[in-house]
């Protein structure tokens, strides 16, 4: 056991590192998105600021800070100010429970590669994401504008609906691993099966492939991304719930959206794709770094997929979106829970 002082110091260091890394990742996701979407649309994307436009996120940040911070009249101020803060805080909090690698020993301190290892980590992450709907809902309501209100009503209905499919699609994995602890779930996926297929949850039974795609779809809807970005459909709602926001307050919503993308990508990696498991070889320092590298690589693939789909697919109509969530995804998720429980019960 660590002494309380060491514990506090180590935790503070980990929080600072996690925040810096996450915010950098958020900034460069926006760069990646602009670049990839640009190439998909036969454009260059950002390329003037720095080599390959790599300094563009910094320029964007500076621009956001120096933009005029408007607060429209007739908004309900306390909630209008609280909504973006709430969004960002919840988005950043959930990452603290995501383990990105094994235990490491640095300078005699043995510590897990995450801010805190909670027994019911997955449930707490789901709890935090279930709260994030308030940021969107309150932003739209307090803005006192019809576009914002419509956007936030759509967003709340959409997020509440798809949350069920999202949660149910994870139940199969939980039944298989018998734990809510993210670390234990990942540990159960080490090694490989026949033909060198890794023992990741997605490959273990065909039902889990279905569950994975249900999760993927629901996760797109939860984070309000194309093709489910109805809450901010610019053709009809200007910009949806953040129409009345400007400067850093808008940037907070923006950062929250990308941080949420990274969180759902991390959960998918941990639950379906074996977390940090991957080929580990070479000298000691390489062996220490490789698991983290595999984890980051898998998350990166998800972010790339997000952007790819954004550059490819059109937007759903609102009634299609609701119908799809309730009449297609939800039954599939329930069927997956039943099938997986049956398999587990028969195997025992």
């Amino acid at each position: 056991m660590l002494s309380i002082t060491t514990f506090v110091i180590v935790t503070v260091i980990k929080i600072v590192i996690a925040l810096v890394v996450l915010l950098t990742a958020v900034a460069y996701s926006t760069w990646l998105e602009r670049k990839v979407v640009g190439h998909i649309q036969n454009r260059w994307g950002p390329q003037r600021v720095g080599p390959f436009g790599l300094l563009q996120p910094l320029a964007d940040g500076a621009k956001f800070i120096f933009k005029e911070d408007l607060t429209p009249p007739y908004v309900y101020k306390p909630l209008y100010l609280a909504a973006p803060i709430l969004s960002l805080v919840l988005a950043l909090t959930s990452i603290s429970l995501v383990p990105i690698g094994n235990w490491v020993t640095v300078g005699g301190v043995h510590t897990p590669l995450e801010i805190t290892d909670v027994n019911i980590g997955l449930l707490i992450i789901l709890g935090i994401t279930s709260l994030s709907v308030y940021g969107v809902a309150l932003a739209g309501w307090s803005s006192n504008s019809k576009y914002s209100l419509l956007g936030s009503l759509r967003a709340s209905a959409q997020m509440v609906s798809y949350e069920i499919a999202l949660g149910l699609s994870l139940v199969g994995v939980l039944i298989m691993s018998g734990s809510l602890n993210l670390r234990e779930i990942v540990d159960a996926q080490g090694g490989h099966m026949a033909f060198w297929i890794p023992r990741w949850n997605i490959f273990r039974w065909p039902t889990q492939i279905v569950a994975f795609f249900v999760y993927l779809t629901a996760a797109f809807a939860e984070t309000n991304r194309v093709p489910f970005d109805l809450p901010e459909a610019e053709t009809e709602l200007v910009a949806g719930y953040h129409t009345e926001y400007s400067s850093m307050k808008f940037a907070m919503f923006f950062m929250a959206e990308y941080a949420n993308m990274i969180t759902v990508a991390s959960i998918a990696t941990l639950l379906f794709l074996g977390g940090w498991h991957g080929p580990v070889f070479g000298p000691g320092w390489l062996q220490a770094i490789l698991p983290v590298f595999w984890f980051v690589l898998k998350v990166f693939c998800f972010i790339f997929l997000y952007i790819w789909i954004r550059g490819t697919l059109p937007r759903f109509r609102y009634d299609q979106l609701m119908g799809f969530g309730w009449k297609v995804l939800f039954p599939i998720a329930v069927a997956n829970v039943l099938a997986t429980s049956l398999i587990v019960a028969l195997q025992k």
Partner: protein, 183 residues
Amino acid sequence: MLELVLFFVFGTIAVGAAINLLAQRHPINSALSLIVVMASLAALFLLMGAEFLAAIQVIVYAGAIMVLFVFVIMLLNAGEEERTPGSRVAMLLGFPAVVLLAGLVAWTLFARNPHPVPVDLAGRFLGSPAAIAQLLFRDFLLPFEITSILILIAIMGAVVLASPVGTTTGSGSPEQAPARREE
């Protein structure tokens, strides 16, 4: 020691938010205060070691039921409530009644049990998901299943009440979907 400090912090927040819930005139402020109450209750559960209960408290109450409350308030665009003469009567009678009731409960508890066992704040409570699952799905399986049937009946009743007159099945517009689920 730390547990005690945290207990008082979250206890104070819970009570303060509950009072704020009553004092606020705008329904959305009241609803948000209720969310704060739920969240601090979850923190108190966590302090007692009931981690599963704490997570469920947040997911179900704060994340699902209260979203519906806020959603409906936003949808109906409810205005500020007015103070009527009736509310003054309620205040005059209500506060003494609350004090009386709380005193009665406390007196009964202490009279029946003069040497109360202190609550173990550091958490040796049987609150892991596995322990709760054992209780729900083995020891109390029948009451649990009966409750779920009760809830099913309530959902069906809500659907019947909500569907327009003359239609029993009601294909339902997509906007009704989230409301239906929350029952």
